[in-house]
């Protein structure tokens, strides 16, 4: 099969890749951002190639497979510094010596010409729940809110800790391969609107998840991805030009004061300053039993992400250890009790239909 003109044009563009980080992702992974032949995308929907960097822990392989299946065709997976999982055995592996950039380009070209067939789904082509032909309208639903219309139940009413309007709460696991969360981290988040209502740790971030990437993630969260990439260049953070740009951008003003305050008075703003000015020295934060719930509950999405990424990895893992590991309500915190008692039922039981 030859290439048509669109494919020929596409072959000249940078390869859109989505990176799924494993436990010991090589240091060069970040440097891929600087490669002009690649474009690192934030969502698997935009990617042609899934790059698995480092070892994916056994517990997360199911997540990797789900992620893999979300890529549009034509797609390919490349394992870098790790071995393919059994289900993805057709994927390519790249080891230490190889030039990853040109390998990615070749793979994409092979995909476009059709030399390499697009990878099939790992997971079976089945809906989460059987819905076709079920129920009075054949869409799987029952009544107004019941059943599993189009394969899933609807979100259900839940308490709200802010203004007491009990609307639907959305509970889901987020992670481990979301770019704004530390890699490897899975949070079970209950959202009322865009506010964190409850949060539990399903899986903490990898031990070596970030290697000083927090500052770059923070800059990205604050809408400055170009400056974040600039930090990848050697010694960029010492440059006067870079510092001036950061000051000009008003980052410090953009971060709300007292956001994510710990017991010793450090907040996102001060931790950001520290990371920017003194990246080699880790901060010694006094966490004293501080859990993610104390930090994130009642926070809006962007603020919550800023708080999460303002901690260095060691502190974040400590905070995760202080947080309940599941969304069961036996650890309900004070704010929830104040707003009128616990939910008698575990929310997740709704989803089990």
């Amino acid at each position: 099969m030859g290439m048509n003109w669109i494919a020929k044009l596409a072959a000249k563009a940078p390869v859109p890749i989505f990176i799924a980080r494993g436990n010991d992702a090589p240091d060069e992974t970040d440097k891929l951002h600087l490669n002009p032949n690649l474009s690192i995308v934030d969502t698997p929907r935009a990617a042609s190639i899934l790059l698995v960097a480092g070892t994916i822990p056994h517990a997360l392989t199911a997540h990797l497979h789900r992620l893999h299946d979300q890529l549009p065709h034509p797609r390919a997976t490349i394992f870098w510094h790790s071995s393919p999982t059994d289900q993805l055995s057709s994927a390519l592996g790249v080891t230490h010596g190889d030039d990853l950039g040109s390998f990615l380009l070749q793979t994409r070209a092979a995909l476009l010409t059709g030399e390499r067939a697009s990878e099939a789904d790992v997971l079976p082509d089945e809906p989460a729940n059987v819905w076709r032909g079920v129920g009075p309208h054949g869409q799987g639903g029952k009544g107004m809110m019941g059943g599993t219309p189009y394969g899933r139940p609807m979100a259900m009413t839940d308490d709200d800790m802010r203004d007491g309007l009990k609307l639907d709460a959305y509970t889901a696991d987020f992670g481990p391969f979301l770019t704004m969360l530390p890699s490897g981290m899975i949070l079970k988040i209950t959202l009322q609107g865009d506010l964190f209502q409850k949060v539990a740790v399903v899986s903490p971030p990898y031990e070596d998840a970030r290697q000083g990437r927090e500052i770059r993630t923070l800059l990205k969260l604050l809408g400055l991805p170009a400056l974040a990439n600039r930090l990848l260049i050697e010694n960029a953070h010492c440059e006067a030009g870079f510092k001036r740009l950061v000051t000009l951008s008003g980052v410090r003003r953009a971060i709300p004061p007292d956001l994510g305050r710990t017991h010793d008075g450090s907040d996102v703003r001060s931790r950001f300053e520290h990371m920017l000015n003194d990246p080699s020295n880790p901060q010694n934060l006094h966490l004293m039993g501080l859990g993610l719930g104390d930090l994130l509950e009642g926070r809006e999405w962007q603020e919550a992400m800023l708080i999460l990424n303002s901690f260095d990895n060691t502190s974040l893992r400590k905070i995760c250890a202080n947080t309940p590991t599941d969304a069961t309500d036996d650890m309900g915190d004070s704010s929830e009790q104040a707003s009128g008692g616990h939910e008698g039922m575990d929310h997740s039981s709704h989803g089990g239909h």
Binding site: A7, L64, M154, A155, L167, D168, A172, R299, E300
Partner: protein
């Protein structure tokens, strides 16, 4: 009438362009999205429920204030046209009008409707 025709023409062309993007792609092999592909992006996790829900917005009071304020815009447009003719009188009247409305904003501000937390 020319205006309506022009608008309809532009809308028509834009729709045609978007349809063209969707259908004119020769490389698209017309594959339907499979069930695993349809799952919403959560970084590898599986959601429990549909995302569409009674979404709890925090700024609903602000939207009410906004709608009231937006109304006032409709008075300002004709005002702007005759401003130079009417001179200081127009300035004074609109100043009063805006001052009255600003009281509403100050009240909302005091009640903390611009805050999430």
């Amino acid at each position: 009438m020319t205006i309506v025709i022009a608008v309809l023409l532009i809308v028509g062309l834009s729709f045609l362009f978007t349809v063209g993007l969707r259908s004119g792609v020769a490389v698209d092999d017309g594959r339907q999205a499979s069930n695993p592909q349809q799952r919403p992006v959560l970084g590898g996790s599986d959601p429990e429920t549909h995302a569409l829900q009674r979404f709890h917005i925090r700024y609903y009071t602000m939207t009410l204030l906004f709608v009231a304020f937006e109304m006032e815009m409709m008075f300002m447009y004709p005002w702007a046209v005759v401003f130079v003719e009417e001179g200081p009188k127009a300035l004074a009247e609109m100043g009063m009008f805006l001052a009255i409305l600003s009281v509403g904003i100050l009240y909302g501000w005091k009640e903390g409707i611009f805050e999430w937390e």
